[in-house]
Assembly symmetry: C3
Homo-oligomer: 217 residues x 3
């Protein structure tokens, strides 16, 4: 009886833990959208929408492809966290640059968790693993693509830095480790850490993909 | 018997009324898309597509999120009204500017009705009211976002004027008045009028949202 | 018994034939996306995504509207052919311009087949024929629209050449010929040929749609 209680408790804590990290990720993603919108002279509504779409856009495309109800329609937290991010940017506008490293950490943790959530949801729908890797990548990276389209720029992740590739690597490592490890939670943690590690190493050592060359005239 | 007939008749008239206003809205939305496309040297096909997407884009996103068949796939009228709008722009090109106030009225009535339709459809699917407000706003405002992306500009509603905010206010007033009034039709009318009023006041007195400031370099 | 076998065999060959042409189309569409991405200094990941979206974007929108699982989630071939296209562009970069006519043929065949596939899938879902024509056109032409949005340009098909119109003509000819011909395969071939013919004639004789004129200032 006590053991069951204890296990239920652990379970609860894990769910809470995931939830907290997901909100941190939402907050960080929204901040990135709102800051870019601010640089383009958006009004408060425009900045909010760009922040929201950055945070929930990828997951929405994933859910539509999986024929699920878009996740944010079942829980208002994502909208509230985006509003908090907007307030945060307005209040601390002058100090944001100094927080860049903090945002980078939050954004990367968010990316990792979004990837794992995308993989999980897709596997739950019984799709092949390569579909899950794509959906994990879409969950993590597609919001940023819509954000850049909204501010009328070529999506950053098509030209700079390792970003979506970190999701793909995290997905592949999820697949490989799930072959050897039975504990799903452990597999998820390993996968998320590999996303974080890939991204941190890429940014620290300025590793990017080669660019594709245009044709000679 | 006579009362039933009379009620059925009223019902019919209300549906007809809604339909007529919805087509007016479609026409006005399509005109706005086609005129912007004309300014960017689109061909007839391009102008038609931009007009169509302006008119039906928001409702399509709403229906996909609600897991419904996109409304225009069940009724060809929206395509036909868009074609009429294209013909109208071609024929009366030189006189359109003088009609700007008329278009503004049509566009605003369309916005109001699209918002109410979006709210209704979402409530019919048993979602929370805040989801309905978002879906009402998407129905009214998302078509214009896609339009602006198609003509490669930053969406107007992110930087100028009260537009989507009018939908949100209309949604909130729908919610509040539904708490006090049992007659759904009356609630819908009040909500639609509040959208129209908000937009008219905002444009007349040039009321806009504050812009979010960029960061100091 | 032998006849049945023979018929089954024919059936198999037709499916194989369709599949081969579909992959040729995917390859050609992906090439067009990757080449444009290369001209905009995309990295390998960006070029791959643009190629992929050009190839599968239209069919994905179609499947979401029809409430079907996006076709590429059920068969990895489309991803593999896009990767092949990326490799091809990298290896033969300097010689691609000389192959322009070949790509034009492939792209046009792909367009024709994508259109027919879109029509078929929509009719299978019991929608009206005009919906099928639109879905055929979306399948053929929407990927190119997303491609151009990703590289931050006004979609080419809104301003230049007969492209989507070829899909619409192919759809109308499908409809008319299905009234007189019972053999579905024959109807499909006639429809596909009419798409190809329309496009080839339009490009050879530089036939385009009239442009819609802007308003006088």
């Amino acid at each position: 009886m006590m053991l069951t209680e204890w296990l239920t408790n652990i379970q609860f804590n894990q769910e809470l833990f995931t939830e907290v990290i997901e909100y941190i990720g939402t907050f960080a993603f929204a901040i990135s959208g709102i800051r870019l919108a601010a640089g383009k002279d958006f009004d408060l509504f425009g900045a909010y929408v760009v922040g929201l779409v950055t945070a929930i856009g990828g997951g929405t495309i994933r859910d539509l492809c999986l024929d699920l109800t878009p996740f944010w329609m079942l829980n208002a937290s994502y909208l509230i966290w985006t509003a908090t991010a907007l307030l945060f940017v307005i209040l601390f506008r002058k100090h944001l640059i100094r927080l860049n490293n903090t945002f980078f950490i939050f954004d990367t943790i968010g990316l990792a968790l979004f990837t794992v959530v995308g993989i999980e949801k897709t596997l739950d729908c019984n799709y092949a693993f390569w579909v899950a890797i794509i959906m994990g990548t879409i969950t993590g990276a597609a919001g940023g693509i819509i954000r850049d389209i909204f501010i009328n720029q070529i999506p950053l992740i098509f030209r700079k830095e390792i970003y979506a590739i970190a999701c793909i690597i995290g997905g592949i490592i999820y697949y490989i480790s799930s072959k050897f490890i039975d504990d799903v939670t452990l597999v998820q943690i390993i996968s998320a850490l590999s996303v974080i590690l890939t991204r941190v190493i890429a940014v620290k050592y300025k590793i990017g993909l080669p660019h594709i060359k245009g044709e000679p005239n």
